[in-house]
C-alpha cells in the first residue's frame, strides 16, 4: 500500500516538474527573445523556486521508495 502510494507520488511529482520546467522555458525564451539576453522575470523566479522544491520532493520520494522496499 505504502509502496503504491510512493510510486504514484513519484510519477505525479515527475510529471509536475516536467510541466513546470516546460512553462518556465517558454517564459525564459519569450523574455530572451525580446531582449536578446538572459533575464529572469518574476514569473520565472517563482517557477524556479517551485521546480527546486519539486526536485527535492521527487528525490525524497525516490529514496523513500527504495528504503521502504529494502527495509
Amino acid at each position: 500500500m505504502v509502496d503504491k502510494l510512493l510510486v504514484w507520488l513519484t510519477v505525479v511529482l515527475l510529471v509536475t516538474l516536467i510541466c513546470t520546467l516546460a512553462v518556465r522555458s517558454v517564459a525564459v525564451e519569450r523574455a530572451a527573445g525580446t531582449s536578446a539576453r538572459f533575464v529572469r522575470p518574476p514569473l520565472v523566479r517563482r517557477m524556479d523556486l517551485a521546480a527546486v522544491c519539486l526536485a527535492v520532493l521527487l528525490l525524497a520520494a525516490t529514496v523513500l521508495r527504495v528504503v521502504n522496499t529494502v527495509v
Partner: protein, 622 residues
C-alpha cells in the same frame, strides 16, 4: 597591430578552415588536377584492396591474438592507402566535404565491417542473448521478472520487440551481424555533428572524426542497449552544443563568463531542442544503467562552466534516470542494494577488476590487452597535447578537458562488473578526440610557430616538404587504425561463431522440452537466443572454477543437453591454459561414462544429450 588582429581573427574562426594569414596561397598545392583524381582513386583502391583481401574466417582457424593473424597483407594495406587519401585531401586549400564524408563512410566499413564481412555469423554471445530477450517480450508482452538485471532497463528490448511484432518478423537475428557497422556509423555521424559544434567544421573536425573511427576499440557497438543509447547520447550532446551552448566550448575568452550568453538561433528552435533533449533523456532512462547519468554529468559540467543555456536540463536528465531506477528497476536493486551502492569510493576495487584483473590468459591475450592500453594511452597523450595547444592559442581548453576526464569519475562509483574502465574510455572519447585532433592538426602545420598561430618568420615549405610532413601523421593514424583492428578482433577466437555453432544451438532448442536444461561449458556460445524462461540455459564457468575436472562438473550438474564448440575450445586454451583438444577429451569422457551421447556433430560443433535420467539422489548442482 594589424597582424595581431589577423591572428586573433584566425583564432576565432578556427585554425583550420582558412589558410594561415602568414601563408601565401600561391604555394598551397601545385598539382591540383592530379590531387583531384588521386584522392578518389586512392580511396577506390583501398576499397578494392580490402575486398580482394577478405577471406572467410572461422573460430577454429584463430589463435589467441585473434582475427589479425588471419587477415591478408593485401587487406591490411587498404588502411594506409585510405588514410593517405584522406590526409592529402585534408591538406588541400579547399578540402572537398563530400569526398571526405564518402572516405569516412568507407573508413567505417573498413574498420567496423571487417568482422561482419569475414565471419560466418554474428559474434558475441551477449548479442544473441539480447535476441532472446526481445523474443520473450514480443511473445509475452512483458519482461521476465527476476531473471536478468538487463530486464530492469528494457527500453531497447521493448522497442525491437515492438518493431518485430509490427513487421511480423519474430526473429531479429538477421539484424545482428551488421549491427556494429551501422551503429558505429551512426556514432561517427554523431561525433561529426558534435565536433562541428565545438570546432569549426573544417580540418580539425574531420581529424577528430577520424580519430574516433580509428580508436574506438571497445566493441560496445554490437546489437545492444549500450550501443543504441550511446548514439542517442551523442545526438543529445550534438543538439545541445549546436543550440543551447554559448559561447562555443573551444571559443577564445575567459574561463568563466560573468553572465549567461543567449545562444544563436530563434527562441522556437531553442524550445524545440530542449524538448528533443528531454525526449532523448526519457528514452535513455529506461534503456541503460549508465548512459543517462553520463549525459546528465556532461551537461552539468557545461552548466558549471556557464556555457549551458537551459540550466534545468542536466538536473532533469539525472532525475529521470533516478526516477526510473526507483520505479522500474526494482527487480534489480531489491535484495542487492549493497552491491549497487557498496562500491562507492572503492577505486582500488574498480582498478583491480577493470585493469589488473583483466590481465589473465596466455601471451597472445596479454598482447591484445597491451594494445588496448596503448591505444587508450595514445589518445590520452594526444588529448593532453591538444589541451596544451588550445591553452597556447588562448582558447578555452579546460572545459573540453573536464568533459573528457569526467566519465572517469565512474571509477569511484562502481566497478561495473570489471568493465568500468572500458566504459569510461568510450564515454570520454567524444571530447578526448577533439583535443587529440588539435594536436594532430598541429603536426600538419608548416612550422612549430604556427602550432600556436604565431606568425612564422620562415617562408612556407615546398610541396615536397609538405608531403614529407604528412608521413609522421600518416604513420600515427595508420598505427592507431591497425591497433584498433587488432584490438577489436583480439577476442575473436572465442567471441566469434560459425554457422555450425548456431545450428548446434538450434538443434538443442528443437529437442529440449520445457523445463529441461541446455548448458555450455563456457559462455562463448550463441545461447539464450530463444526459449528464454522456458528452457534453462546456462554455462558451467561459474560453477566450475578454472574448468578443473570439467567432466565431473558436467556429471554433477547433469544438463539435458551440453554444447561443445570450437569457440569454447579456444576459450579454455587462452583463458584457462587447458591443453589443445580438451573439449574432445571431455566428449570422450562423457560418452565413455554412458550417461551422454553425441546427437549432433557438424564442423566441430557438438551437442551431447543425456541418455540416463538422474536419480532422485542426484540433485542438480547450481
Amino acid at each position: 597591430m594589424s597582424l595581431r588582429l589577423a591572428v586573433a581573427t584566425a583564432t576565432l574562426t578556427g585554425p583550420t578552415d582558412t589558410p594561415s594569414p602568414v601563408e601565401p596561397p600561391r604555394r598551397q598545392f601545385q598539382f591540383p588536377v592530379l590531387r583531384d583524381w588521386a584522392v578518389p582513386a586512392s580511396a577506390g583502391a583501398a576499397l578494392v584492396l580490402w575486398c580482394v583481401g577478405l577471406r572467410p574466417v572461422t573460430p577454429g582457424q584463430l589463435g589467441s591474438v585473434g582475427l589479425v593473424t588471419a587477415l591478408s597483407p593485401v587487406l591490411l594495406a587498404s588502411y594506409p592507402v585510405l588514410l593517405a587519401a584522406v590526409l592529402i585531401e585534408l591538406t588541400a586549400p579547399r578540402p572537398r566535404q563530400r569526398l571526405l564524408a564518402a572516405c569516412t563512410a568507407l573508413g567505417v566499413l573498413l574498420v567496423y565491417g571487417l568482422q561482419p564481412a569475414s565471419e560466418q555469423t554474428a559474434r558475441l554471445s551477449a548479442a544473441w542473448l539480447h535476441v532472446g530477450f526481445i523474443r520473450y517480450i514480443a511473445d509475452h508482452g512483458q519482461v521476465l521478472p527476476a531473471f536478468d538485471a538487463r530486464f530492469s532497463w528494457p527500453g531497447f528490448f521493448s522497442l525491437f520487440a515492438l518493431v518485430s511484432r509490427a513487421a511480423g518478423v519474430p526473429d531479429v537475428t538477421p539484424l545482428l551481424q551488421w549491427a556494429p557497422t551501422v551503429l558505429a556509423g551512426l556514432a561517427t555521424l554523431g561525433i561529426r555533428a558534435l565536433v562541428s559544434n565545438v570546432l569549426d567544421p573544417g580540418r580539425t573536425a574531420w581529424i577528430a572524426t577520424w580519430l574516433f573511427v580509428l580508436t574506438e576499440w571497445t566493441e560496445q557497438d554490437y546489437f545492444s542497449p549500450q550501443a543504441t543509447t550511446y548514439v542517442l547520447m551523442l545526438a543529445a550532446l550534438a543538439l545541445t552544443l549546436r543550440y543551447l551552448v554559448a559561447p562555443r566550448l573551444a571559443a577564445v575568452g575567459p574561463g568563466v563568463l560573468r553572465g549567461r550568453v543567449v545562444p544563436s538561433g530563434t527562441p522556437g528552435q531553442r524550445l524545440a531542442v530542449q524538448g528533443a533533449v528531454l525526449l532523448l533523456a526519457l528514452a535513455l532512462a529506461p534503456s541503460h544503467q549508465l548512459t543517462p547519468y553520463v549525459l546528465g554529468g556532461l551537461l552539468l559540467i557545461m552548466l558549471l562552466a556557464r556555457r549551458l543555456w537551459a540550466g534545468w536540463l542536466p538536473w532533469l536528465v539525472l532525475l529521470l534516470a533516478l526516477g526510473w531506477f526507483s520505479l522500474g528497476a526494482k527487480d534489480f536493486w531489491q535484495g542487492q542494494l549493497q552491491m549497487v551502492i557498496g562500491g562507492f569510493g572503492d577505486v582500488s576495487a574498480s582498478f583491480n577488476q577493470g585493469v589488473s584483473g583483466r590481465f589473465v590468459g596466455d601471451a597472445g591475450r596479454q598482447l591484445i590487452l597491451l594494445v588496448r592500453v596503448g591505444l587508450a594511452g595514445a589518445v590520452g597523450a594526444l588529448a593532453l597535447a591538444g589541451g596544451w595547444l588550445l591553452r597556447c592559442q588562448r582558447r578555452l581548453g579546460w572545459v573540453l578537458g573536464l568533459l573528457a576526464a569526467a566519465p572517469f569519475g565512474l571509477i569511484a562509483l562502481q566497478s561495473y562488473g570489471g568493465e568500468v574502465f572500458l566504459r569510461c574510455y568510450l564515454f570520454s572519447l567524444p571530447f578526448a578526440v577533439i583535443l587529440a585532433a588539435v594536436a594532430v592538426e598541429a603536426l600538419l602545420r608548416p612550422s612549430p610557430d604556427a602550432w600556436v598561430l604565431r606568425p612564422s618568420p620562415k617562408l612556407p615549405p615546398s610541396p615536397r616538404r609538405r608531403a614529407l610532413r604528412l608521413i609522421p601523421v600518416l604513420a600515427l593514424l595508420t598505427g592507431l587504425g591497425l591497433g584498433t583492428v587488432m584490438a577489436r578482433g583480439g577476442n575473436d577466437a572465442y567471441t566469434s561463431f560459425g554457422r555450425a555453432d548456431v545450428a548446434a544451438v538450434d538443434y538443442a532448442y528443437q529437442h529440449a522440452r520445457t523445463g529441461q536444461h541446455i548448458e555450455a561449458v563456457t559462455s562463448d556460445v550463441p545461447l539464450s537466443s530463444a526459449r528464454v524462461g522456458e528452457v534453462g540455459q546456462s554455462t558451467l564457468e561459474t560453477f566450475c572454477p578454472g574448468l578443473v575436472h570439467v567432466s565431473q562438473c558436467v556429471l554433477d550438474t547433469h544438463p539435458d543437453f551440453l554444447l561443445v564448440t570450437p569457440s569454447q575450445e579456444n576459450d579454455g586454451r587462452i583463458y584457462y591454459d587447458l591443453p589443445a583438444g580438451w573439449t574432445s577429451a571431455l566428449v570422450t569422457e562423457l560418452t565413455a561414462s554412458g550417461r551422454y551421447r553425441v546427437v549432433f556433430d557438424q564442423d566441430g560443433s557438438q551437442v551431447l544429450a543425456r541418455v540416463v535420467p538422474p536419480t532422485p539422489n542426484e540433485p542438480r548442482k547450481e
